[in-house]
């Protein structure tokens, strides 16, 4: 299966600095001894990363997990940082073929009024949440930059850490968000393959690959502290996407020495439009990818959302992953009214509440950390 997926992946259509093709031979040819050497080195490079993604490394998954756990505990300790998403709006002008918010989907559209935003925020405060991620779809007249800006300002009054996952913005817009109390953004490239990118993003502003790939650079230049990046695993070959993501991370770390990056591993989930994944990544593959990133980036936060199943999240907590969302609702107004899940951006798998999730962490001798930031740093 692995090699079948692989052979189909020879098109070299990536920008040079993101191109995974030069490293694919390493993935294919790595032997057990290469994997052991990659696990032993203290200065892994992209060659070791490719080795850790290889079929030979799949056979050594336990050794990868052990190394990943050591490194995670060394840097992040026995803690898991928690956050929750807050959907501000599901209006969207985008044409992302895989997304439940895409403008051609028939689902009802909502956006939070100021009063509803306050209600959602107090529901989250009651759940002890201290870090929130504000989300919208692509830029629309209903949910435009000003709407996002005022939502950030409102949220910053209640939460020490507020981040945003919305549309790609200009550097000036990012600066305005920063001044309003936003700490960082999350912006996934979705796929690093420009041809596939164009196929999936059928219309709208998001269709511009180059503008989106440079958005994290604009955010850092504007003074934002953190940028979360990731590929939507399942769109393209997950190995190739991971190698490009590695290169994107390296680029950001070299270019913005004060910038904090984090890496997320969203997997394509079923959504209301029925899009099916052309390159599904199973849990074992996903775990291997996360371990490889942890081993090569021991001090970068690695994030896992409630898209994943409870058992998988329990297993990955503290052995690679150090930050997780909890008790998420992907519907607009979901915390207060528990709106039907079939209106969400994607299906949630781990639906446990905060208390249940935290008691699982504590059973594993991991401390759930809600507040790890302070408004004084704005």
């Amino acid at each position: 299966m692995f090699f079948v997926l692989f052979r189909g992946y020879c098109m070299n259509n990536f920008p040079d600095w993101l191109d995974p093709v030069p490293y694919m031979a390493q993935v294919e040819q790595a032997q057990r001894r290469d994997v052991l050497a990659a696990l032993a080195t203290t200065q892994p490079t992209i060659a070791e990363f490719a080795t850790l993604l290889s079929p030979a490394a799949t056979d050594e998954l336990e050794a990868l997990a052990q190394r990943a756990k050591q490194l995670t505990r060394g840097h992040f300790g026995n803690t898991i940082q928690l956050y929750a998403p807050l959907y501000l709006s599901n209006y969207c002008t985008g044409g992302c073929s895989y997304c439940g918010f895409s403008s051609d989907r028939k689902q009802p559209r909502h956006k939070l009024t100021e009063a509803q935003l306050q209600t959602e925020m107090s529901a989250l405060r009651q759940m002890h949440i201290e870090e929130i991620l504000l989300l919208t779809g692509e830029r629309t007249p209903q949910a435009n930059f000003d709407f996002l800006h005022s939502s950030v300002k409102a949220a910053a009054a209640h939460f020490p850490k507020v981040t945003v996952e919305a549309f790609g913005m200009t550097e000036d817009e990012y600066r305005v968000l920063n001044d309003a109390g936003c700490t960082g953004i999350t912006l996934y490239q979705e796929t690093y393959d420009p041809v596939l990118y164009e196929e999936c993003h059928r219309w709208g502003e998001k269709r511009d690959f180059a503008y989106r790939i440079a958005a994290p650079d604009r955010a850092f230049r504007a003074g934002l502290r953190t940028v979360g990046i990731g590929a939507l695993l399942g769109l393209g070959n997950p190995i190739a996407e991971s190698i490009s993501l590695y290169q994107h991370a390296i680029h950001l770390m070299k270019t913005h020495w004060q910038g904090g990056i984090s890496l997320s591993f969203p997997r394509l989930r079923p959504e209301s439009g029925g899009f099916t994944s052309p390159h599904p990544a199973d849990e074992k593959r996903l775990a291997q990818i996360i371990f490889a990133f942890r081993i090569c980036f021991p001090n970068v936060p690695l994030v896992l959302s409630t898209r994943e199943a409870a058992a998988f999240r329990d297993g990955m907590a503290g052995i690679g992953i150090n930050k997780m969302s909890v008790a998420s609702r992907t519907t607009v107004g979901g915390y207060e009214n528990g709106r039907a899940e079939d209106e969400g951006q994607f299906e949630i798998d781990d639906g446990r509440d905060v208390e249940t999730f935290c008691s699982m962490l504590r059973q594993q001798h991991l401390e759930p950390v809600f507040k790890n930031w302070d408004a004084v740093f704005r």
């Binding site: 026995n78 201290e130 502290r225 770390m253 507040k371 302070d374 740093f377």
Partner: protein
Amino acid sequence: MDKLKLGDLEFSSRLLVGTGKFSDVETMVAAVKASGAEIVTVALRRFNANEAEDDLFGPLSQLDRVTLMPNTSGARNAKEAVRAAMLARELSGSKLIKVEIHPNPHHLMPDPIETYEAAQTLAAEGFVVMPYMPADPVLAKRLEDAGCASVMPLGSAIGSGHGLSTRELVELIIRDSGIPVIVDAGLRAPSEAAAATEMGCDAVLVNSAIANAGDPSAMGRAFADAVTTGYAARQAGLMARLDHAEATSPLTAFLSTPE
């Protein structure tokens, strides 16, 4: 053992401990107690007045014989560190402040320029300033001149467990320093802490090595013993290190021959 003097404060213990990375607050508090530490550092960003369960400050403030040393971790420049220090003093009532400015959130290496600037400001504001710093002998003297109560050079990267990899530089800092030198960060084993006090450090600060130990309380005690032993050995006067056997026929015997 004589006292550790920091500004106008005096302490019996020469082990300072950090409070992050523990699997739960109870384990952390037990380890702090077991370590006998009298100075405990806690990040302002882990103060949570709204949620007792998520708050590190509350349980630590209940401990007798413990002076809190809030730290400014999260600050990426002097301005932010000064703001954080002011807020931390207001919330904790402690004038001890660990200046911790690491603008790169990944490797967490301290920024010498911003640290110096913040130290100057905070010393003038009456804080007992404890700067976490690169193991740089020149910067150490600059920070002393700026009015710091100690210097806290790193042994190796935070959380790395690479021990005293900056040993030669720390030796230079110790040789010239007029204020206490406290190795902070990177220690893994009590033997490394003993080596630090034995070579002349006045104290050590440990967090990860205790938090990530199989039995944090037992490791806290082990570090306390090691720090005491190393310091006592230093006070006792170590024999000289000789690289070769002493010659039985002195080479300079001819110099005392009567002319």
